[in-house]
Subunit: 282 residues, 4 copies
Amino acid sequence: MRAVLLLSCREQKGIVATVADFIYRHDGNIVDADEHTDFENNLFLQRIEWDMEGFRVPRDAVADAFRPIAERFAMSWVLRFSDDVPRMAIFVSKLDHCLHDLLWRQRAGELRAEVPFVLSNHEELRPVASSFGIPFHVHRFTPETKAEEEQRILARLTEERVDLVVLARYMQVLGSAVVDAWRSRVINIHHSFLPAFAGGRPYHQAYARGVKVVGATAHYVTEQLDEGPIIEQDVIRVSHRDSVEDMVRKGRDLERVVLARAVRLHLRHRVLVYGSRTVVFE
Amino acid sequence: MRAVLLLSCREQKGIVATVADFIYRHDGNIVDADEHTDFENNLFLQRIEWDMEGFRVPRDAVADAFRPIAERFAMSWVLRFSDDVPRMAIFVSKLDHCLHDLLWRQRAGELRAEVPFVLSNHEELRPVASSFGIPFHVHRFTPETKAEEEQRILARLTEERVDLVVLARYMQVLGSAVVDAWRSRVINIHHSFLPAFAGGRPYHQAYARGVKVVGATAHYVTEQLDEGPIIEQDVIRVSHRDSVEDMVRKGRDLERVVLARAVRLHLRHRVLVYGSRTVVFE
Amino acid sequence: MRAVLLLSCREQKGIVATVADFIYRHDGNIVDADEHTDFENNLFLQRIEWDMEGFRVPRDAVADAFRPIAERFAMSWVLRFSDDVPRMAIFVSKLDHCLHDLLWRQRAGELRAEVPFVLSNHEELRPVASSFGIPFHVHRFTPETKAEEEQRILARLTEERVDLVVLARYMQVLGSAVVDAWRSRVINIHHSFLPAFAGGRPYHQAYARGVKVVGATAHYVTEQLDEGPIIEQDVIRVSHRDSVEDMVRKGRDLERVVLARAVRLHLRHRVLVYGSRTVVFE
Amino acid sequence: MRAVLLLSCREQKGIVATVADFIYRHDGNIVDADEHTDFENNLFLQRIEWDMEGFRVPRDAVADAFRPIAERFAMSWVLRFSDDVPRMAIFVSKLDHCLHDLLWRQRAGELRAEVPFVLSNHEELRPVASSFGIPFHVHRFTPETKAEEEQRILARLTEERVDLVVLARYMQVLGSAVVDAWRSRVINIHHSFLPAFAGGRPYHQAYARGVKVVGATAHYVTEQLDEGPIIEQDVIRVSHRDSVEDMVRKGRDLERVVLARAVRLHLRHRVLVYGSRTVVFE
C-alpha cells in the first residue's frame, strides 16, 4: 500500500525538507515526488508518494501525525491511500462512445475505480451499462422539475458514496447546487480545444470556421459553462475533405482518449486545481 | 516547365473529362491532379498540373485556348507556369524568428520565390535582411499618417511587381485599402490556434486560461482581424511548468513552421479560397 | 449507389482523359478522384468514384464496358460498388482491446462491413464476440497440425465469403498457404513503428533501447514477418517515467486507432499496394 | 544565481530528506526538484535546483559541504551553477540547417552557451559561422591521418575549454579516442527515429520501406554508431506523395527542433545518462 499527499501553500523555505523528513523519520520510503512553484502567485504545490510498508505510523494515524506540519505551513492538503478504490459515477445521454470506452478501461484495469452506477436522462444506453454489469438509473426532468430532480441526484451520489462524477457526453448543464457541492470532483469532456468553440455544436462551428485541427478538452465543471480548469487537451488534423460528420467521427477518438487520460490522472491523485488552472503531476 | 490550372465552378457533369481532354488533345501529360466537391455549397474545385514539354499549345496561347472551356462552365480560374518565379515581400516589426526562417528557406530552395525587399515599421531587423542580401525599407507612420503611408506601401508593391505579401510578425493592422487590393495575397501568422485567443498577447491569454496546448495559425488577411481563411495550423503541448516566456519560446518554433508551410503551399499554387475557408491541395 | 475504380498501369498520356470521358460519356458524375504518379517506377495509380444515379450503363455491365479501356492501357484494376458490403473476419488470441474496438466501430457505423465471425486459437474472447452477437470459432493447432488446421481456416473463409481478414493481435504466424491465397487482403497490427522493433515483445525492446516515442503499424501480411506494405502508422511520446506496462497501456490506444484507420481505408477502397509500398488515397 | 545538483545512487531510504535538509539547513530555497526511481535496477536519480541568494555556504564551498552526503549514499553527482556559461563547439560538414538554427537560437537567448568555434571537415559553411561572428576551423583528414587529426581536435577542445560538442550533421564517425574522452558530452542528430534506419541515407531507407512517418533522434555518441543513449525524438507524417527529397525537406524541420531541444536540455543540466538510457527532467 502507498500513501499520496497532495498539498499547496504559500511558497516558503523548508517545505520540501520538512515533508521529506516527516516521511523519512517514520521509516517511509518515497517512491515518487513532484512539485511546482508558481512564482507569479507565490504558491508552492507538491505531490509526494511513499510506501507504507514499514512506515511506523499506522494508516489511520497518518493524517493526525501530519497535521502539525500542515498547520505550520498553512497548507491545503489531502491524503490518500492506494487501497482506497474511488467510486466513480458516469453520467451520459445518448452517445455511447465515451461510456463504452470508460467501462472497457475500468474492466481492463486502466482506471482504478469502482463504478456504482451509470446515470442518464435517457433510456438508450441501458444495454451498454448492462453488458458491463453496471446498474443504470434514469433521472429525467423538465426545466420546472430540474432543481428538484437534481436534489435526488445529489442524494444518490451521497448514498452511493461516490467520489468522482464523469460527464461522458451528458447533454445537460448541471445546476449550481450540484456544481457547488461537487467542485473539482466533476469532470466533463467538451468536443473542442477550448476556449475555441465553447457551447453547442462545436464541430459545426469548427467546420464553418475552416480550421485545420479539431480538439477535445477534459475539464472540471464550474458555474461558467466550458470555463472550468482544464485537465487535458488534444487535437487531430482535419482538412477540407472532412465533412462535419467526418469531424464528429475523428473527434470521437479524441474525446475517448482525452477523457480517459483526465479521469486516470484524477483517480491517481495527480491533479491539483488552483484558481482557474490545474497542475498535472504526470 | 509545367502548367498549373486552379479552378472552381458550380458542380456539374463533365468538368473533369473536359479539362483532362483539353490537356490530352494537345499532347499534354498530366502529372498531378486533385479535386474537391463541396456538396453543401454545390461547388467544384480542382487543381491540375501538366508537363508543357511537347504540349502543342505555346505557353502564351494556353489561356486563350482554355478560355472557351472556362466560359462554358462559368469557372473562376488562374493559370500559372512553373518558370514564373513569384515575388514575395516580407513585412516585419521587431521579432526576427519568422523573417530569419523565411529567408533561410528561400536561400535553401524550399520556397521558390524572389524576395525583392523586406519592409518594416522599425529599423531593428535591417541587419537580418542585409545578411541575406535583401533590401530593407522602413515605412513608419502614426495613426494620422497611416492612410497616406499605406498608399506609399501600395505603390512600392506595384512598382516591385510583388505577387505575395507575408506578414512575418508585422505588428500593424493593414488598412482596408491594402486589404481590398491584396485579397487572398497577404498571409499572416497569428500565434494561437484560432479562433482561440484572437487579438493581442495570445500566449498571455493561453497562460491565464491554463490550456494544455498552444498553437499557431497562418491565414489570409481580411478586414476582420484574425478571421481570414485559414491555410495551416498546428499545436504543441504545454504544461503548468511552462511560463508565458516558455510558451513564447515554444511558439516561435511553431510559428516558423506553420508560416513556412502556408507560404510554400501558396507559392506552389495549392491553395484555393472559397468563402471563409480554404481548400489545400497537398 | 456509387462506383469506385482503383487502377494502376504504366505512366502514359491520356489515361485521366480517357477514364473521365468513359464516365462522362455515360452520364456519370465524378464525386471523388485522386491519382498518383510514381516517376521513379514510371507507374500511374488512380482512384475514381462516381455516382451511379443516372449512369447509362447498368451496374452489372460496367466492368465489361470498361474492359476495353483497361486493356488498351494494360491496367491492373478493380471495380467496386458502394452497395456491396464487404465481409470482414477478425482473428484474435487473448487480448481484447482491438477486437472490442473494431466491433464497437462496426456497430457504430464507422466500418462499413459485416463481421461473419471472430476466429481465435483460444477461448478467452468468446464473451466479447457474444456481447456483440458475433459467432466465435476456435481453431487450435500445434506445430504438427498447423498446416492441416489452416486448410480448415481457408475453407471457412471461402464458405463464409470473407473479403478481408483482420489480425487484431492474433499471436500466430500465418502459414504460406494462407498468405499466398489472401495477399493484400489480410491486415495485421504490429505494436511498434516498424521497421523498428519487429518481432516479439516490441514494448520490451523499446523500453530497453530507451526510445522517447513508441508506435504502432498496420500493414498487409506477407511471407516476411512484419515486412508487408504499411497502410498506417502513428506514435505516442513516452519518457523515462513509463515502465513497460505503461508503454503497453499507451500502446493499446495507438493500436486501436491505427488498426481502425487502416481497416476503414481498406474497406473504402482507398489503398493500392505496389511493390512493398502502399498508396493511400485519403 | 542558482545551483543545480544532479545525482544518482542505489535506491535507499532518506535520500530526498537528507538532500532537502542540506539545502534548508543552509537557508537555501528549493525552486525545482524532480526525481526518478528505476525499481528494476534499484536506482534513484534526482535533479534539485535552489536559489543561492541567502544560501549560507559560499559558492566555492558547496561541493565540499555536500561531499559527506554524497559519500554516505555512494552517489554519482555533479554540481552546476547558473552563472557558469557552458562552452559549446559545433561540428558540421556541408549541410547548414542545424548550424544556422543553433546559432540563431544561441543569439536569441534560447541556448545559454558560448560558442567558441565551429569545426568542419569542409570549407562550405564558413560564411554561416562568419555571419554570426563565430570562428570557423577546418580539420580535414584521410583515413590515414584521422587518428592524428583527431588528436589535434582533442587538443583544441581542451584549449578552448569546451564543455559540450554538438554534431550538427557532421558526416564523420568520431574515433574512439574522442568518444572515450567525451562520453555523455557529444550530442549527435540522426535523421531517423532510431533504432529504425540507423546508418547511412535513412530517408532513402524510409522511402524504400514505405513508412508513413519519418523521424529524427538526438543522442549521446558512443562507440556503437547510432546506438548511444537517446535524449529526444520526434516524428512527422509522410505519404506516398512524398519523394525522398520531400522527406529530406520535412526532416530538416524535425532535425533542427529535435537537436535544439536536446542541446537545451543538456545545457540546463536536465539529462542524466544511465546505462544505455537517459532520464530527462523536463
